[in-house]
């Protein structure tokens, strides 16, 4: 490759072979947008974790009703201006109940982010296990697991969620259940990606070298393959998290999501959309929070992808592991000069 044309991608060229957490962070830091996004995500996580502290600071909690702050005769619209924003209620109060919106928003972050992150972890875990097993197992195991993956890709998540959420006893905590349901149903795409990537990695010489060292398959999968899957998986996960937030919201819309009084952004959005005209801030707050989160995660995802391996990772958006047949899978050789 001529150095002229890779010049703009100099950091990327480096990345293709390089690794190590330190390099990763260094490369991530060089991207301003990604750094800001990472900061926002960190802030959001912090807000979610510190929700009790923040609400204590405000002097409110997410469940106490304030009937005096709403106009019962007008459907319960907040009486104060701007949706009842005041020193006591930083972001106003919820229509119909007078519950504090700031408190509900930050507690909602706990549920929404918690569900989304954990569901993603489950999706990634199942996807990894199935994908790696399919790629490393024999022809029949591969066939079987690939078909199962197809089934899970074809099952409509919403519908199965509706059913599954109804089956499980109600004593089971809802956020955990929603997490499990999302995580255990929609892992198909990630399994496909992992399978494709594992097949690619499996053909790499260092895996062959590890076999020659005398290691067993399990150890090779753990030491040699899994680290190589990190880049695509992390990249895809950063796309999955916001999707999962939306799914949680949709499940709330269909009436099977997280239950009151536990606030979640999805639930707030669901309750708030009809208030768009009467109490706009009620809708805009969770929508804004969701938007910022998704934006930050998407930008961070791009940054992570770039930092980990821009060329390989950008193929992942396909999500179907159609890497096969793309001729330039071959690893760059030292003959290509790198300036």
């Amino acid at each position: 490759m001529s150095e002229a044309l890779v010049a703009t991608q100099a950091p990327e060229a480096l990345a293709s072979g390089a690794s190590g957490a330190r390099q990763f962070w260094r490369r991530l830091r060089t991207q301003r947008a990604a750094t800001v996004a990472a900061g926002i995500v960190a802030l959001l996580v912090l807000v979610a974790l510190a929700a009790p502290l923040l609400t204590a600071l405000e002097g409110q909690d997410p469940t106490t009703y304030h009937p005096s702050l709403i106009d019962s005769a007008r459907g319960g619209v907040p009486t104060g201006s701007l949706g009842g924003i005041s020193g006591h209620h930083w972001l106003g109060v919820e229509p119909q109940t007078g519950r504090d919106l700031f408190a509900r928003l930050v507690y909602g972050a706990r549920v929404s982010l918690g569900v989304a992150f954990s569901a993603t972890v489950i999706q990634v875990f199942v996807g990894l296990v199935v994908g790696v097993a399919a790629a490393l197992g024999g022809r029949w195991i591969d066939q079987l697991l690939s078909r199962i993956t197809d089934i899970f890709v074809a099952l409509p998540l919403m519908i199965m969620s509706l059913a599954l959420l109804a089956i499980v006893p109600q004593s089971f905590p809802r956020p955990v259940l929603v997490t499990l349901v999302i995580g255990l149903i929609s892992w198909g795409s990630i399994a496909k990606i992992v399978r494709a990537q594992t097949l690619t990695l499996k053909g790499l010489d260092y895996v062959a070298a590890a076999r020659l060292s005398g290691w067993g398959a399990w150890r090779i999968a753990r030491r040699e393959l899994l680290p190589g899957l990190a880049a695509p998986v992390i990249t895809y996960a950063s796309i999955l998290i916001p999707v999962n937030i939306s799914v949680e919201a949709a499940l709330s819309f269909l009436g099977v999501g997280v239950k009151p009084p536990t606030p979640s952004w999805g639930q707030m959005l669901t309750a708030a959309d009809v208030w768009y005209q009467a109490a706009p801030q009620y809708l805009l707050l969770p929508a804004g929070a969701l938007f910022v989160t998704v934006l930050a995660l998407a930008v961070l995802g791009d940054g992570v992808r770039t930092a980990l391996d821009p060329r390989a990772a950008s193929r992942l958006g396909v999500g179907t592991g159609r890497g096969r047949g793309r001729g330039r899978e071959a690893v760059t050789t030292a003959k290509e000069e790198s300036a």
């Binding site: 409509p156 089956i167 193929r315 958006g317």
Partner: protein, 332 residues
């Protein structure tokens, strides 16, 4: 073409196996779903005796495997059923009768399928146009304000649940600005113009969400293609940027976009559930949600199978298109 014939055969068998597996899963899941089907069908104030009669009527007392066997039988040879006054035949492939309405599931599906297909295909055209267009524009204007604004807009579409977008659009466009009628499904065969006019808003709501993924996909594939060696070749031969972006880079993004489209077809069907519910379109999604709520197993199985069939079909079509788009791919 022997290769293509073999591909079709393998795919057909795979599809049938997948659908069979899905039907088993749905049967089992809904079998353990709470909700006394006979009581729901009979009515809340039915006496235990009546409930028992209804259960017999619907064969709800049979073991699960027997019911599933009847389902398979119906698929292959059809089944007879009584309306009380006469005996009717539900010819194969018979997906059974709705517990709630006693209608043939297949006819329920066939009346609703055009609505869902209208919604999803129209939305698909829109999201491809919006998504790919946005992607191309943001590559063409990369690094400039246009790109950032476009990226922000698509992400906003992506981040907002469809029911929020749909409702706000409807309130603003139909209620306040009165630019469009409140959507009502008009059959394409009745009045194509009204059909499109009424579906415009649902299409947009659904497309806005999906198009973000396409914009991102298009953008990243094009950027990836732009980093490839053959782009350098054309630059080195004096080919202009417009042709490089519009011809070579876009062509490189085509295959991944096709693949993504197949993948998203499934999620769009999921999104269609919400869209149909919100806009009151009498499609499969709405029927399904309703059937789930009243544990109408035959309808649920039927709709899930049909939806699953379309998802699997979309994937197979995508594989073919992918192979057409990228001749190096061998169909397996």
């Amino acid at each position: 073409m022997n290769g293509f014939g073999g591909f079709l055969l393998r795919r057909t068998i795979g599809t049938l196996a997948t659908l069979l597996a899905i039907s088993v899963i749905v049967y089992v899941v809904f079998y353990v779903t709470p909700g006394n089907v006979a009581q729901i069908t009979c009515g809340p104030r039915c006496s235990p005796e009546q409930v028992h009669q209804v259960a017999q009527q619907l064969h709800l007392d049979d073991p699960l495997y027997v019911r599933y066997w009847h389902f398979l039988q119906g698929l292959v040879v059809g089944q007879d059923y009584s309306t009380g006054t006469s005996v009717e035949h539900c010819s194969a492939p018979c997906l059974g009768l709705s517990y709630q309405t006693d209608q043939q599931v297949l006819s329920i599906i066939l009346t609703r399928l055009p609505v869902s297909l209208s919604l999803v295909t129209g939305a698909m055209v829109l999201w491809l146009v919006l998504g790919v267009g946005t992607g191309v524009l943001s590559v063409w204007r990369r690094g400039r304000l246009t790109e950032r604004v476009l990226t922000g807009l698509t992400l906003a579409g992506w981040a907002t649940p469809v029911f929020v977008i749909g409702l706000v659009l409807m309130i603003v466009v139909c209620g306040e600005l009165q630019l469009l009628p409140f959507p009502q499904y008009v059959k394409f065969t009745d009045d194509p113009e009204q059909w499109a006019w009424n579906l415009l808003l649902p299409w947009f709501s659904l497309a806005l969400i999906e198009s973000a993924a396409f914009a991102r996909m298009t953008r990243s594939s094009m950027l990836e293609t732009l980093a490839e060696d053959h782009i350098r070749t054309f630059r080195a031969y004096g080919v202009g940027e417009r042709s490089i972006v519009g011809r070579h880079a876009l062509r490189g993004a085509l295959a991944p976009v096709i693949a993504l489209n197949a993948n998203n077809f499934g999620s769009a069907v999921g999104g269609a559930v919400l869209t149909e519910t919100l806009f009151g379109l009498p499609g499969l999604g709405q029927e399904l949600v309703h059937a789930v709520s009243v544990v109408d197993l035959p309808v649920v199985v039927g709709v899930v199978l049909v939806v699953g069939f379309f998802v699997v079909l979309a994937n197979a079509v995508a594989d073919v298109l992918y192979a057409v788009a990228d001749r190096r791919v061998v169909l397996t």
